[in-house]
Symmetry: C2
Subunit: 312 residues, 2 copies
Amino acid sequence: MNRPTRVEITEVGPRDGLQAEPAFVPTATKIDLINNLIAAGVPRIEFSSFVSPRAVPQLVDVVDVFERLDRSTDTVLAALVPNAKGAVRAAECQVDEIIVFLSASESHNLKNVNRSVEESLSGFEHVAKIADHAGIPVNGAIATAFGCPFEGDVSVKQLEAIARRYQECGFSGVTLGDTTGMATPPIVQRAVRHLKEHVPELPIGLHFHNTRGIGLVNVIAGLDEGVDRYDSSFGGIGGCPFAPKATGNICTEDLIYLLHEMGIETGIDLEQLSAVACNVESVIGRDLPGQVMKAGPRLKLHSMADVATAVG
Amino acid sequence: MNRPTRVEITEVGPRDGLQAEPAFVPTATKIDLINNLIAAGVPRIEFSSFVSPRAVPQLVDVVDVFERLDRSTDTVLAALVPNAKGAVRAAECQVDEIIVFLSASESHNLKNVNRSVEESLSGFEHVAKIADHAGIPVNGAIATAFGCPFEGDVSVKQLEAIARRYQECGFSGVTLGDTTGMATPPIVQRAVRHLKEHVPELPIGLHFHNTRGIGLVNVIAGLDEGVDRYDSSFGGIGGCPFAPKATGNICTEDLIYLLHEMGIETGIDLEQLSAVACNVESVIGRDLPGQVMKAGPRLKLHSMADVATAVG
Protein backbone atom coordinates (compact mmCIF):
# COMPACT_ATOMS: atom_id res chain seq x y z
CA MET A 1 0.00 0.00 0.00
CA ASN A 2 1.19 3.34 -1.18
CA ARG A 3 -1.41 5.36 0.75
CA PRO A 4 -0.35 8.67 2.29
CA THR A 5 -0.76 9.18 6.05
CA ARG A 6 -1.70 12.84 5.64
CA VAL A 7 -3.53 14.64 2.84
CA GLU A 8 -4.13 18.28 1.95
CA ILE A 9 -7.75 19.20 1.33
CA THR A 10 -8.70 22.20 -0.79
CA GLU A 11 -12.18 23.48 -0.02
CA VAL A 12 -13.62 24.68 -3.33
CA GLY A 13 -17.19 25.36 -2.21
CA PRO A 14 -16.90 29.16 -1.96
CA ARG A 15 -15.86 29.32 -5.62
CA ASP A 16 -17.01 26.14 -7.39
CA GLY A 17 -20.21 25.84 -5.35
CA LEU A 18 -21.39 29.40 -4.87
CA GLN A 19 -20.69 30.46 -8.48
CA ALA A 20 -23.40 28.06 -9.63
CA GLU A 21 -26.04 29.29 -7.18
CA PRO A 22 -28.83 31.33 -8.78
CA ALA A 23 -29.02 33.78 -5.86
CA PHE A 24 -26.14 36.06 -4.88
CA VAL A 25 -24.75 35.12 -1.47
CA PRO A 26 -24.11 38.36 0.48
CA THR A 27 -20.46 39.31 0.87
CA ALA A 28 -20.59 39.28 4.68
CA THR A 29 -22.03 35.75 4.59
CA LYS A 30 -19.26 34.53 2.29
CA ILE A 31 -16.64 36.06 4.60
CA ASP A 32 -18.17 34.35 7.65
CA LEU A 33 -18.32 30.97 5.91
CA ILE A 34 -14.71 31.17 4.71
CA ASN A 35 -13.39 32.45 8.05
CA ASN A 36 -15.16 29.53 9.73
CA LEU A 37 -13.45 27.15 7.30
CA ILE A 38 -10.12 28.72 8.25
CA ALA A 39 -10.98 28.32 11.95
CA ALA A 40 -11.82 24.64 11.31
CA GLY A 41 -8.26 24.12 10.06
CA VAL A 42 -8.87 23.80 6.31
CA PRO A 43 -5.36 24.15 4.86
CA ARG A 44 -6.27 25.51 1.41
CA ILE A 45 -9.38 27.29 0.18
CA GLU A 46 -10.37 28.27 -3.35
CA PHE A 47 -12.11 31.32 -1.99
CA SER A 48 -13.32 33.06 -5.18
CA SER A 49 -12.51 33.91 -8.79
CA PHE A 50 -11.14 36.98 -10.56
CA VAL A 51 -13.49 36.36 -13.42
CA SER A 52 -15.54 38.95 -15.29
CA PRO A 53 -18.51 40.06 -13.15
CA ARG A 54 -20.63 39.77 -16.30
CA ALA A 55 -19.66 36.10 -16.71
CA VAL A 56 -20.05 35.18 -13.04
CA PRO A 57 -21.94 37.90 -11.12
CA GLN A 58 -22.06 35.65 -8.03
CA LEU A 59 -18.33 36.28 -7.42
CA VAL A 60 -18.20 40.01 -8.21
CA ASP A 61 -17.13 40.69 -4.61
CA VAL A 62 -13.85 38.76 -4.78
CA VAL A 63 -11.73 41.69 -3.60
CA ASP A 64 -14.05 42.68 -0.76
CA VAL A 65 -14.18 39.07 0.40
CA PHE A 66 -10.42 38.64 0.30
CA GLU A 67 -9.73 41.82 2.27
CA ARG A 68 -11.74 40.61 5.25
CA LEU A 69 -10.48 37.02 5.47
CA ASP A 70 -8.50 35.88 8.51
CA ARG A 71 -4.82 35.86 7.49
CA SER A 72 -3.49 34.82 10.91
CA THR A 73 -3.23 31.09 10.08
CA ASP A 74 -1.32 29.03 7.51
CA THR A 75 -4.42 28.50 5.36
CA VAL A 76 -3.59 29.11 1.70
CA LEU A 77 -6.16 31.37 0.02
CA ALA A 78 -6.26 30.56 -3.67
CA ALA A 79 -8.25 32.31 -6.39
CA LEU A 80 -9.27 31.14 -9.81
CA VAL A 81 -8.00 33.33 -12.63
CA PRO A 82 -9.32 32.99 -16.21
CA ASN A 83 -6.82 35.24 -17.99
CA ALA A 84 -4.01 37.82 -17.70
CA LYS A 85 -6.44 40.54 -16.68
CA GLY A 86 -7.63 38.41 -13.76
CA ALA A 87 -4.03 37.63 -12.88
CA VAL A 88 -3.20 41.33 -12.60
CA ARG A 89 -6.10 41.81 -10.18
CA ALA A 90 -5.11 38.72 -8.17
CA ALA A 91 -1.53 39.98 -7.99
CA GLU A 92 -2.68 43.39 -6.77
CA CYS A 93 -4.56 41.65 -3.96
CA GLN A 94 -1.55 39.48 -3.17
CA VAL A 95 -3.59 36.28 -2.93
CA ASP A 96 -1.60 33.26 -1.75
CA GLU A 97 -2.04 31.28 -4.93
CA ILE A 98 -3.46 31.60 -8.42
CA ILE A 99 -5.33 28.75 -10.13
CA VAL A 100 -5.68 28.61 -13.91
CA PHE A 101 -7.77 26.09 -15.78
CA LEU A 102 -8.50 24.68 -19.20
CA SER A 103 -10.30 21.58 -20.42
CA ALA A 104 -8.37 18.59 -21.72
CA SER A 105 -10.77 18.28 -24.65
CA GLU A 106 -10.98 20.92 -27.38
CA SER A 107 -14.78 20.93 -27.55
CA HIS A 108 -15.25 21.43 -23.80
CA ASN A 109 -12.60 24.15 -23.68
CA LEU A 110 -14.28 25.92 -26.57
CA LYS A 111 -17.66 25.66 -24.89
CA ASN A 112 -16.33 26.73 -21.50
CA VAL A 113 -13.84 29.52 -22.29
CA ASN A 114 -14.26 29.98 -26.05
CA ARG A 115 -10.63 29.15 -26.83
CA SER A 116 -8.60 26.29 -28.22
CA VAL A 117 -6.44 24.40 -25.73
CA GLU A 118 -3.36 25.99 -27.33
CA GLU A 119 -4.85 29.47 -26.92
CA SER A 120 -5.48 28.72 -23.24
CA LEU A 121 -1.92 27.49 -22.77
CA SER A 122 -0.47 30.60 -24.46
CA GLY A 123 -2.55 32.76 -22.12
CA PHE A 124 -1.19 30.86 -19.12
CA GLU A 125 2.33 31.90 -20.10
CA HIS A 126 1.31 35.50 -19.55
CA VAL A 127 -0.39 34.62 -16.28
CA ALA A 128 2.75 32.81 -15.16
CA LYS A 129 4.89 35.91 -15.79
CA ILE A 130 2.50 38.18 -13.89
CA ALA A 131 2.34 35.73 -10.99
CA ASP A 132 6.08 35.20 -10.96
CA HIS A 133 6.66 38.94 -10.84
CA ALA A 134 4.29 39.16 -7.85
CA GLY A 135 5.86 36.14 -6.16
CA ILE A 136 2.62 34.13 -6.28
CA PRO A 137 2.63 30.41 -7.10
CA VAL A 138 0.28 29.13 -9.82
CA ASN A 139 -1.54 25.80 -9.84
CA GLY A 140 -2.87 24.50 -13.15
CA ALA A 141 -6.18 22.66 -13.29
CA ILE A 142 -7.22 20.37 -16.14
CA ALA A 143 -11.00 20.08 -16.48
CA THR A 144 -12.60 17.02 -18.15
CA ALA A 145 -9.36 15.16 -17.34
CA PHE A 146 -11.18 11.82 -16.94
CA GLY A 147 -13.65 12.19 -19.77
CA CYS A 148 -15.43 14.84 -21.82
CA PRO A 149 -19.23 14.96 -22.09
CA PHE A 150 -18.91 15.77 -25.82
CA GLU A 151 -15.92 13.63 -26.86
CA GLY A 152 -15.86 10.74 -24.38
CA ASP A 153 -12.56 9.32 -23.21
CA VAL A 154 -9.56 11.64 -22.80
CA SER A 155 -6.13 10.23 -23.58
CA VAL A 156 -3.37 10.21 -20.98
CA LYS A 157 -1.09 11.60 -23.71
CA GLN A 158 -3.22 14.75 -23.80
CA LEU A 159 -2.96 15.08 -20.00
CA GLU A 160 0.79 14.58 -20.26
CA ALA A 161 1.13 17.25 -22.97
CA ILE A 162 -0.76 19.81 -20.88
CA ALA A 163 1.08 18.88 -17.68
CA ARG A 164 4.43 19.37 -19.45
CA ARG A 165 3.39 22.87 -20.51
CA TYR A 166 2.31 23.57 -16.92
CA GLN A 167 5.72 22.47 -15.74
CA GLU A 168 7.43 24.69 -18.34
CA CYS A 169 5.34 27.59 -17.00
CA GLY A 170 6.80 26.88 -13.54
CA PHE A 171 3.46 25.90 -12.02
CA SER A 172 3.50 24.43 -8.51
CA GLY A 173 1.23 21.53 -9.40
CA VAL A 174 -1.51 20.12 -11.62
CA THR A 175 -5.05 19.30 -10.55
CA LEU A 176 -6.96 16.75 -12.59
CA GLY A 177 -10.62 17.77 -12.60
CA ASP A 178 -13.49 15.36 -13.10
CA THR A 179 -15.81 18.11 -14.30
CA THR A 180 -18.81 15.97 -15.20
CA GLY A 181 -18.20 12.93 -13.02
CA MET A 182 -16.73 10.55 -15.60
CA ALA A 183 -13.80 9.28 -13.51
CA THR A 184 -13.65 5.65 -12.44
CA PRO A 185 -11.01 3.82 -10.38
CA PRO A 186 -9.22 2.29 -13.40
CA ILE A 187 -9.18 5.64 -15.25
CA VAL A 188 -7.83 7.46 -12.18
CA GLN A 189 -5.15 4.83 -11.73
CA ARG A 190 -4.09 5.05 -15.38
CA ALA A 191 -3.97 8.87 -15.46
CA VAL A 192 -2.04 9.23 -12.20
CA ARG A 193 0.45 6.50 -13.07
CA HIS A 194 1.07 8.01 -16.50
CA LEU A 195 1.70 11.51 -15.15
CA LYS A 196 3.88 10.23 -12.31
CA GLU A 197 5.98 8.38 -14.83
CA HIS A 198 6.22 11.07 -17.52
CA VAL A 199 6.03 14.36 -15.60
CA PRO A 200 7.36 13.16 -12.24
CA GLU A 201 8.30 16.53 -10.73
CA LEU A 202 4.80 18.03 -10.96
CA PRO A 203 2.70 17.31 -7.83
CA ILE A 204 -0.78 15.95 -8.62
CA GLY A 205 -4.09 16.96 -7.04
CA LEU A 206 -7.45 15.34 -7.74
CA HIS A 207 -10.81 17.06 -8.05
CA PHE A 208 -13.72 14.62 -8.19
CA HIS A 209 -17.43 15.06 -8.67
CA ASN A 210 -20.01 12.64 -7.29
CA THR A 211 -22.21 12.83 -10.40
CA ARG A 212 -22.37 9.03 -10.66
CA GLY A 213 -22.12 8.24 -6.95
CA ILE A 214 -18.51 7.04 -6.94
CA GLY A 215 -16.59 10.23 -6.09
CA LEU A 216 -15.19 8.92 -2.81
CA VAL A 217 -14.32 5.58 -4.40
CA ASN A 218 -12.18 7.55 -6.85
CA VAL A 219 -10.46 9.18 -3.87
CA ILE A 220 -9.53 5.69 -2.67
CA ALA A 221 -8.10 4.97 -6.14
CA GLY A 222 -6.06 8.19 -5.84
CA LEU A 223 -4.86 7.32 -2.33
CA ASP A 224 -3.78 3.89 -3.58
CA GLU A 225 -1.56 5.71 -6.11
CA GLY A 226 -0.10 7.91 -3.38
CA VAL A 227 -1.92 11.14 -4.29
CA ASP A 228 -2.19 13.40 -1.25
CA ARG A 229 -4.13 16.45 -2.54
CA TYR A 230 -7.90 16.49 -2.99
CA ASP A 231 -10.51 19.13 -3.74
CA SER A 232 -13.99 18.96 -2.24
CA SER A 233 -16.86 21.27 -1.36
CA PHE A 234 -18.79 21.91 1.85
CA GLY A 235 -22.05 19.98 1.90
CA GLY A 236 -21.22 18.63 -1.57
CA ILE A 237 -22.49 21.90 -3.07
CA GLY A 238 -22.16 22.28 -6.83
CA GLY A 239 -23.69 20.44 -9.72
CA CYS A 240 -23.32 19.19 -13.24
CA PRO A 241 -24.98 21.02 -16.14
CA PHE A 242 -25.45 17.69 -17.95
CA ALA A 243 -27.22 15.99 -15.05
CA PRO A 244 -29.36 18.64 -13.36
CA LYS A 245 -30.52 16.43 -10.49
CA ALA A 246 -27.20 14.70 -9.86
CA THR A 247 -24.75 15.91 -7.21
CA GLY A 248 -21.64 18.00 -7.87
CA ASN A 249 -18.33 18.05 -6.05
CA ILE A 250 -17.54 15.37 -3.53
CA CYS A 251 -18.53 16.54 -0.06
CA THR A 252 -15.78 17.80 2.25
CA GLU A 253 -17.27 16.52 5.52
CA ASP A 254 -17.91 13.05 4.09
CA LEU A 255 -14.34 12.97 2.73
CA ILE A 256 -12.80 14.16 6.02
CA TYR A 257 -14.89 11.62 7.96
CA LEU A 258 -13.66 8.84 5.65
CA LEU A 259 -10.01 9.91 5.79
CA HIS A 260 -9.99 10.23 9.58
CA GLU A 261 -11.66 6.83 9.96
CA MET A 262 -8.92 5.40 7.74
CA GLY A 263 -6.27 6.94 10.01
CA ILE A 264 -5.28 9.60 7.46
CA GLU A 265 -4.70 13.05 8.93
CA THR A 266 -6.10 16.28 7.48
CA GLY A 267 -5.69 18.81 10.32
CA ILE A 268 -9.40 19.66 9.98
CA ASP A 269 -11.94 19.63 12.82
CA LEU A 270 -14.87 17.61 11.47
CA GLU A 271 -17.42 18.99 13.92
CA GLN A 272 -16.60 22.60 13.05
CA LEU A 273 -16.61 21.74 9.37
CA SER A 274 -20.05 20.11 9.61
CA ALA A 275 -21.35 23.25 11.31
CA VAL A 276 -20.12 25.31 8.35
CA ALA A 277 -21.87 22.95 5.92
CA CYS A 278 -25.13 23.30 7.87
CA ASN A 279 -24.72 27.08 7.62
CA VAL A 280 -24.22 26.81 3.86
CA GLU A 281 -27.41 24.75 3.65
CA SER A 282 -29.42 27.38 5.47
CA VAL A 283 -27.83 30.18 3.42
CA ILE A 284 -28.79 28.66 0.09
CA GLY A 285 -32.11 27.34 1.35
CA ARG A 286 -32.17 23.77 0.06
CA ASP A 287 -30.90 20.34 1.06
CA LEU A 288 -27.28 19.61 0.20
CA PRO A 289 -26.00 16.12 -0.71
CA GLY A 290 -23.62 15.85 2.29
CA GLN A 291 -24.40 12.90 4.56
CA VAL A 292 -22.18 13.33 7.63
CA MET A 293 -23.67 16.80 8.17
CA LYS A 294 -27.03 15.01 8.61
CA ALA A 295 -26.02 11.80 10.38
CA GLY A 296 -23.04 13.00 12.43
CA PRO A 297 -19.94 10.88 13.03
CA ARG A 298 -20.45 7.15 13.60
CA LEU A 299 -19.99 7.21 17.36
CA LYS A 300 -22.57 9.90 17.96
CA LEU A 301 -24.71 7.46 19.97
CA HIS A 302 -28.45 7.53 20.54
CA SER A 303 -30.75 6.79 23.44
CA MET A 304 -33.09 3.83 22.94
CA ALA A 305 -35.94 6.33 23.32
CA ASP A 306 -34.73 8.27 20.26
CA VAL A 307 -36.80 6.28 17.78
CA ALA A 308 -40.20 4.70 18.06
CA THR A 309 -39.25 1.69 15.95
CA ALA A 310 -35.91 0.66 14.59
CA VAL A 311 -35.94 -1.08 11.23
CA GLY A 312 -34.64 -4.61 10.59
CA MET B 1 -5.17 -7.91 -5.02
CA ASN B 2 -7.71 -10.39 -3.81
CA ARG B 3 -10.64 -8.81 -5.68
CA PRO B 4 -13.25 -11.13 -7.21
CA THR B 5 -13.94 -10.92 -10.96
CA ARG B 6 -17.65 -11.56 -10.50
CA VAL B 7 -20.02 -10.66 -7.66
CA GLU B 8 -23.57 -11.60 -6.75
CA ILE B 9 -25.88 -8.68 -6.07
CA THR B 10 -28.97 -9.04 -3.91
CA GLU B 11 -31.58 -6.39 -4.63
CA VAL B 12 -33.21 -5.60 -1.28
CA GLY B 13 -35.30 -2.60 -2.34
CA PRO B 14 -38.66 -4.42 -2.57
CA ARG B 15 -38.35 -5.47 1.08
CA ASP B 16 -35.89 -3.13 2.84
CA GLY B 17 -36.93 -0.06 0.86
CA LEU B 18 -40.68 -0.44 0.41
CA GLN B 19 -41.32 -1.56 4.00
CA ALA B 20 -40.22 1.89 5.18
CA GLU B 21 -42.45 3.82 2.78
CA PRO B 22 -45.42 5.51 4.43
CA ALA B 23 -47.79 4.71 1.53
CA PHE B 24 -48.71 1.16 0.54
CA VAL B 25 -47.34 0.30 -2.90
CA PRO B 26 -50.04 -1.58 -4.84
CA THR B 27 -49.44 -5.31 -5.28
CA ALA B 28 -49.48 -5.13 -9.08
CA THR B 29 -46.86 -2.38 -9.00
CA LYS B 30 -44.60 -4.45 -6.75
CA ILE B 31 -44.95 -7.43 -9.08
CA ASP B 32 -44.04 -5.30 -12.12
CA LEU B 33 -41.00 -3.81 -10.40
CA ILE B 34 -39.70 -7.20 -9.26
CA ASN B 35 -40.36 -8.89 -12.60
CA ASN B 36 -38.45 -6.06 -14.28
CA LEU B 37 -35.55 -6.68 -11.89
CA ILE B 38 -35.62 -10.34 -12.87
CA ALA B 39 -35.66 -9.36 -16.55
CA ALA B 40 -32.64 -7.10 -15.95
CA GLY B 41 -30.69 -10.14 -14.76
CA VAL B 42 -30.61 -9.48 -10.99
CA PRO B 43 -29.46 -12.85 -9.59
CA ARG B 44 -31.03 -12.60 -6.10
CA ILE B 45 -33.92 -10.50 -4.83
CA GLU B 46 -35.17 -10.04 -1.28
CA PHE B 47 -38.69 -9.69 -2.59
CA SER B 48 -40.71 -9.32 0.63
CA SER B 49 -41.13 -10.44 4.23
CA PHE B 50 -43.33 -12.98 6.02
CA VAL B 51 -43.70 -10.60 8.91
CA SER B 52 -46.88 -9.80 10.82
CA PRO B 53 -49.14 -7.53 8.75
CA ARG B 54 -49.70 -5.51 11.92
CA ALA B 55 -45.96 -4.88 12.28
CA VAL B 56 -45.31 -4.12 8.60
CA PRO B 57 -48.59 -3.50 6.74
CA GLN B 58 -46.61 -2.43 3.63
CA LEU B 59 -45.68 -6.09 2.97
CA VAL B 60 -49.01 -7.74 3.79
CA ASP B 61 -49.26 -8.96 0.17
CA VAL B 62 -46.14 -11.16 0.30
CA VAL B 63 -47.98 -14.31 -0.90
CA ASP B 64 -49.86 -12.56 -3.71
CA VAL B 65 -46.63 -10.96 -4.89
CA PHE B 66 -44.70 -14.21 -4.86
CA GLU B 67 -47.35 -16.12 -6.80
CA ARG B 68 -47.08 -13.74 -9.76
CA LEU B 69 -43.31 -13.45 -10.02
CA ASP B 70 -41.51 -14.75 -13.09
CA ARG B 71 -39.96 -18.12 -12.12
CA SER B 72 -38.52 -18.87 -15.57
CA THR B 73 -35.00 -17.58 -14.78
CA ASP B 74 -32.31 -18.51 -12.25
CA THR B 75 -33.05 -15.48 -10.07
CA VAL B 76 -33.22 -16.51 -6.41
CA LEU B 77 -36.31 -15.12 -4.69
CA ALA B 78 -35.57 -14.72 -1.00
CA ALA B 79 -37.95 -13.65 1.75
CA LEU B 80 -37.25 -12.26 5.19
CA VAL B 81 -38.71 -14.34 8.02
CA PRO B 82 -38.89 -13.06 11.60
CA ASN B 83 -39.91 -16.27 13.38
CA ALA B 84 -41.10 -19.90 13.07
CA LYS B 85 -44.60 -18.78 12.10
CA GLY B 86 -43.18 -16.80 9.19
CA ALA B 87 -41.00 -19.76 8.24
CA VAL B 88 -44.03 -22.03 7.99
CA ARG B 89 -45.69 -19.55 5.61
CA ALA B 90 -42.50 -19.17 3.56
CA ALA B 91 -42.17 -22.96 3.34
CA GLU B 92 -45.78 -23.29 2.16
CA CYS B 93 -44.99 -20.83 -0.64
CA GLN B 94 -41.79 -22.67 -1.50
CA VAL B 95 -39.72 -19.51 -1.73
CA ASP B 96 -36.16 -20.07 -2.96
CA GLU B 97 -34.49 -18.89 0.21
CA ILE B 98 -35.31 -17.74 3.73
CA ILE B 99 -33.46 -14.90 5.43
CA VAL B 100 -33.44 -14.54 9.20
CA PHE B 101 -31.96 -11.63 11.09
CA LEU B 102 -30.91 -10.44 14.52
CA SER B 103 -28.82 -7.53 15.73
CA ALA B 104 -25.28 -8.07 16.98
CA SER B 105 -25.95 -5.78 19.94
CA GLU B 106 -28.41 -6.69 22.69
CA SER B 107 -29.97 -3.23 22.91
CA HIS B 108 -30.68 -2.98 19.18
CA ASN B 109 -32.07 -6.52 19.05
CA LEU B 110 -34.33 -5.72 21.98
CA LYS B 111 -35.51 -2.52 20.33
CA ASN B 112 -35.98 -4.16 16.94
CA VAL B 113 -37.49 -7.56 17.71
CA ASN B 114 -38.04 -7.40 21.49
CA ARG B 115 -35.79 -10.38 22.19
CA SER B 116 -32.33 -11.07 23.55
CA VAL B 117 -29.75 -12.25 21.03
CA GLU B 118 -29.93 -15.72 22.59
CA GLU B 119 -33.71 -15.79 22.22
CA SER B 120 -33.33 -14.87 18.55
CA LEU B 121 -30.75 -17.61 18.00
CA SER B 122 -32.97 -20.23 19.70
CA GLY B 123 -35.82 -19.20 17.43
CA PHE B 124 -33.57 -19.62 14.39
CA GLU B 125 -33.06 -23.27 15.32
CA HIS B 126 -36.79 -23.82 14.82
CA VAL B 127 -36.72 -21.87 11.56
CA ALA B 128 -33.79 -23.98 10.39
CA LYS B 129 -35.74 -27.20 11.01
CA ILE B 130 -38.81 -25.94 9.17
CA ALA B 131 -36.69 -24.76 6.25
CA ASP B 132 -34.66 -27.95 6.16
CA HIS B 133 -37.85 -30.01 6.05
CA ALA B 134 -39.05 -27.91 3.10
CA GLY B 135 -35.66 -28.08 1.36
CA ILE B 136 -35.17 -24.32 1.51
CA PRO B 137 -31.75 -22.81 2.32
CA VAL B 138 -31.50 -20.16 5.05
CA ASN B 139 -29.21 -17.14 5.07
CA GLY B 140 -28.54 -15.44 8.38
CA ALA B 141 -28.21 -11.65 8.56
CA ILE B 142 -26.51 -9.79 11.41
CA ALA B 143 -27.79 -6.24 11.78
CA THR B 144 -25.63 -3.54 13.46
CA ALA B 145 -22.62 -5.72 12.58
CA PHE B 146 -20.33 -2.70 12.19
CA GLY B 147 -21.63 -0.62 15.06
CA CYS B 148 -24.75 -0.09 17.14
CA PRO B 149 -26.41 3.32 17.46
CA PHE B 150 -26.99 2.65 21.19
CA GLU B 151 -23.79 0.82 22.18
CA GLY B 152 -21.16 1.96 19.68
CA ASP B 153 -18.53 -0.47 18.47
CA VAL B 154 -19.42 -4.15 18.02
CA SER B 155 -16.71 -6.70 18.74
CA VAL B 156 -15.59 -9.19 16.12
CA LYS B 157 -15.90 -11.85 18.83
CA GLN B 158 -19.65 -11.21 18.97
CA LEU B 159 -19.89 -11.55 15.17
CA GLU B 160 -17.91 -14.77 15.37
CA ALA B 161 -20.15 -16.21 18.11
CA ILE B 162 -23.29 -15.50 16.06
CA ALA B 163 -21.73 -16.77 12.82
CA ARG B 164 -20.79 -20.06 14.55
CA ARG B 165 -24.38 -20.53 15.64
CA TYR B 166 -25.52 -19.81 12.07
CA GLN B 167 -23.13 -22.46 10.86
CA GLU B 168 -24.43 -24.94 13.44
CA CYS B 169 -27.95 -24.22 12.14
CA GLY B 170 -26.73 -25.22 8.66
CA PHE B 171 -27.24 -21.75 7.18
CA SER B 172 -25.92 -21.16 3.67
CA GLY B 173 -24.20 -17.91 4.56
CA VAL B 174 -23.99 -14.87 6.81
CA THR B 175 -24.71 -11.29 5.77
CA LEU B 176 -23.13 -8.51 7.82
CA GLY B 177 -25.56 -5.59 7.88
CA ASP B 178 -24.53 -1.99 8.41
CA THR B 179 -27.98 -1.02 9.65
CA THR B 180 -27.25 2.59 10.59
CA GLY B 181 -24.25 3.32 8.36
CA MET B 182 -21.44 2.90 10.91
CA ALA B 183 -19.11 0.77 8.78
CA THR B 184 -15.75 2.13 7.67
CA PRO B 185 -13.04 0.47 5.55
CA PRO B 186 -10.86 -0.56 8.54
CA ILE B 187 -13.88 -1.96 10.43
CA VAL B 188 -15.02 -3.91 7.36
CA GLN B 189 -11.53 -5.28 6.85
CA ARG B 190 -11.24 -6.37 10.49
CA ALA B 191 -14.69 -8.04 10.59
CA VAL B 192 -14.27 -9.92 7.30
CA ARG B 193 -10.75 -11.09 8.12
CA HIS B 194 -11.84 -12.30 11.55
CA LEU B 195 -14.79 -14.29 10.22
CA LYS B 196 -12.77 -15.73 7.34
CA GLU B 197 -10.18 -16.92 9.83
CA HIS B 198 -12.50 -18.26 12.54
CA VAL B 199 -15.62 -19.42 10.64
CA PRO B 200 -14.02 -20.10 7.26
CA GLU B 201 -16.73 -22.32 5.76
CA LEU B 202 -19.52 -19.76 6.05
CA PRO B 203 -19.76 -17.50 2.93
CA ILE B 204 -19.94 -13.79 3.76
CA GLY B 205 -22.22 -11.17 2.24
CA LEU B 206 -22.11 -7.44 2.97
CA HIS B 207 -25.06 -5.09 3.33
CA PHE B 208 -24.02 -1.44 3.49
CA HIS B 209 -25.92 1.76 4.02
CA ASN B 210 -24.79 5.12 2.66
CA THR B 211 -25.82 7.03 5.80
CA ARG B 212 -22.42 8.72 6.03
CA GLY B 213 -21.66 8.84 2.31
CA ILE B 214 -19.08 6.04 2.26
CA GLY B 215 -21.20 2.99 1.40
CA LEU B 216 -19.48 2.27 -1.92
CA VAL B 217 -16.07 2.84 -0.35
CA ASN B 218 -16.96 0.06 2.08
CA VAL B 219 -17.77 -2.16 -0.91
CA ILE B 220 -14.22 -1.56 -2.14
CA ALA B 221 -12.94 -2.61 1.29
CA GLY B 222 -15.05 -5.77 0.99
CA LEU B 223 -13.80 -6.49 -2.53
CA ASP B 224 -10.22 -6.09 -1.33
CA GLU B 225 -10.94 -8.89 1.18
CA GLY B 226 -12.38 -11.09 -1.56
CA VAL B 227 -16.06 -10.76 -0.59
CA ASP B 228 -18.29 -11.40 -3.60
CA ARG B 229 -21.84 -10.90 -2.26
CA TYR B 230 -23.40 -7.47 -1.77
CA ASP B 231 -26.87 -6.17 -0.96
CA SER B 232 -28.15 -2.91 -2.42
CA SER B 233 -31.45 -1.23 -3.24
CA PHE B 234 -32.86 0.30 -6.41
CA GLY B 235 -32.46 4.06 -6.44
CA GLY B 236 -30.83 3.84 -2.99
CA ILE B 237 -34.30 3.65 -1.44
CA GLY B 238 -34.46 3.15 2.30
CA GLY B 239 -33.38 5.27 5.20
CA CYS B 240 -32.05 5.40 8.70
CA PRO B 241 -34.37 6.13 11.64
CA PHE B 242 -31.51 7.93 13.41
CA ALA B 243 -30.70 10.28 10.55
CA PRO B 244 -34.00 11.15 8.91
CA LYS B 245 -32.49 13.15 6.04
CA ALA B 246 -29.56 10.82 5.33
CA THR B 247 -29.71 8.11 2.67
CA GLY B 248 -30.35 4.43 3.30
CA ASN B 249 -29.06 1.39 1.45
CA ILE B 250 -26.33 1.78 -1.12
CA CYS B 251 -27.83 2.24 -4.55
CA THR B 252 -27.90 -0.77 -6.89
CA GLU B 253 -27.38 1.14 -10.15
CA ASP B 254 -24.45 3.13 -8.74
CA LEU B 255 -22.91 -0.10 -7.41
CA ILE B 256 -23.40 -1.96 -10.72
CA TYR B 257 -21.96 0.99 -12.67
CA LEU B 258 -18.90 0.99 -10.39
CA LEU B 259 -18.38 -2.79 -10.57
CA HIS B 260 -18.72 -2.91 -14.36
CA GLU B 261 -16.30 0.02 -14.74
CA MET B 262 -13.84 -1.93 -12.57
CA GLY B 263 -14.21 -4.94 -14.85
CA ILE B 264 -16.19 -6.96 -12.30
CA GLU B 265 -19.12 -8.90 -13.75
CA THR B 266 -22.62 -8.95 -12.27
CA GLY B 267 -24.78 -10.32 -15.09
CA ILE B 268 -27.07 -7.29 -14.69
CA ASP B 269 -28.14 -4.93 -17.50
CA LEU B 270 -27.47 -1.43 -16.13
CA GLU B 271 -29.80 0.34 -18.52
CA GLN B 272 -32.76 -1.89 -17.64
CA LEU B 273 -31.92 -1.56 -13.96
CA SER B 274 -31.85 2.25 -14.18
CA ALA B 275 -35.26 2.17 -15.83
CA VAL B 276 -36.61 0.18 -12.86
CA ALA B 277 -35.12 2.73 -10.43
CA CYS B 278 -36.81 5.56 -12.35
CA ASN B 279 -40.09 3.65 -12.05
CA VAL B 280 -39.58 3.28 -8.31
CA GLU B 281 -39.02 7.02 -8.06
CA SER B 282 -42.26 7.80 -9.84
CA VAL B 283 -44.15 5.18 -7.78
CA ILE B 284 -43.09 6.65 -4.44
CA GLY B 285 -43.26 10.22 -5.68
CA ARG B 286 -40.02 11.73 -4.42
CA ASP B 287 -36.38 11.98 -5.48
CA LEU B 288 -34.23 8.98 -4.68
CA PRO B 289 -30.51 9.23 -3.82
CA GLY B 290 -29.31 7.18 -6.83
CA GLN B 291 -26.98 9.13 -9.13
CA VAL B 292 -26.50 6.95 -12.22
CA MET B 293 -30.28 6.89 -12.71
CA LYS B 294 -30.04 10.69 -13.12
CA ALA B 295 -26.70 11.09 -14.94
CA GLY B 296 -26.61 7.92 -17.02
CA PRO B 297 -23.41 5.96 -17.67
CA ARG B 298 -20.22 7.95 -18.27
CA LEU B 299 -20.15 7.51 -22.03
CA LYS B 300 -23.66 8.76 -22.59
CA LEU B 301 -22.35 11.73 -24.57
CA HIS B 302 -23.95 15.12 -25.11
CA SER B 303 -24.25 17.53 -27.99
CA MET B 304 -22.51 20.87 -27.47
CA ALA B 305 -25.94 22.46 -27.82
CA ASP B 306 -27.20 20.52 -24.77
CA VAL B 307 -26.21 23.18 -22.25
CA ALA B 308 -26.18 26.94 -22.49
CA THR B 309 -23.01 27.27 -20.42
CA ALA B 310 -20.67 24.64 -19.12
CA VAL B 311 -19.05 25.34 -15.77
CA GLY B 312 -15.28 25.63 -15.17
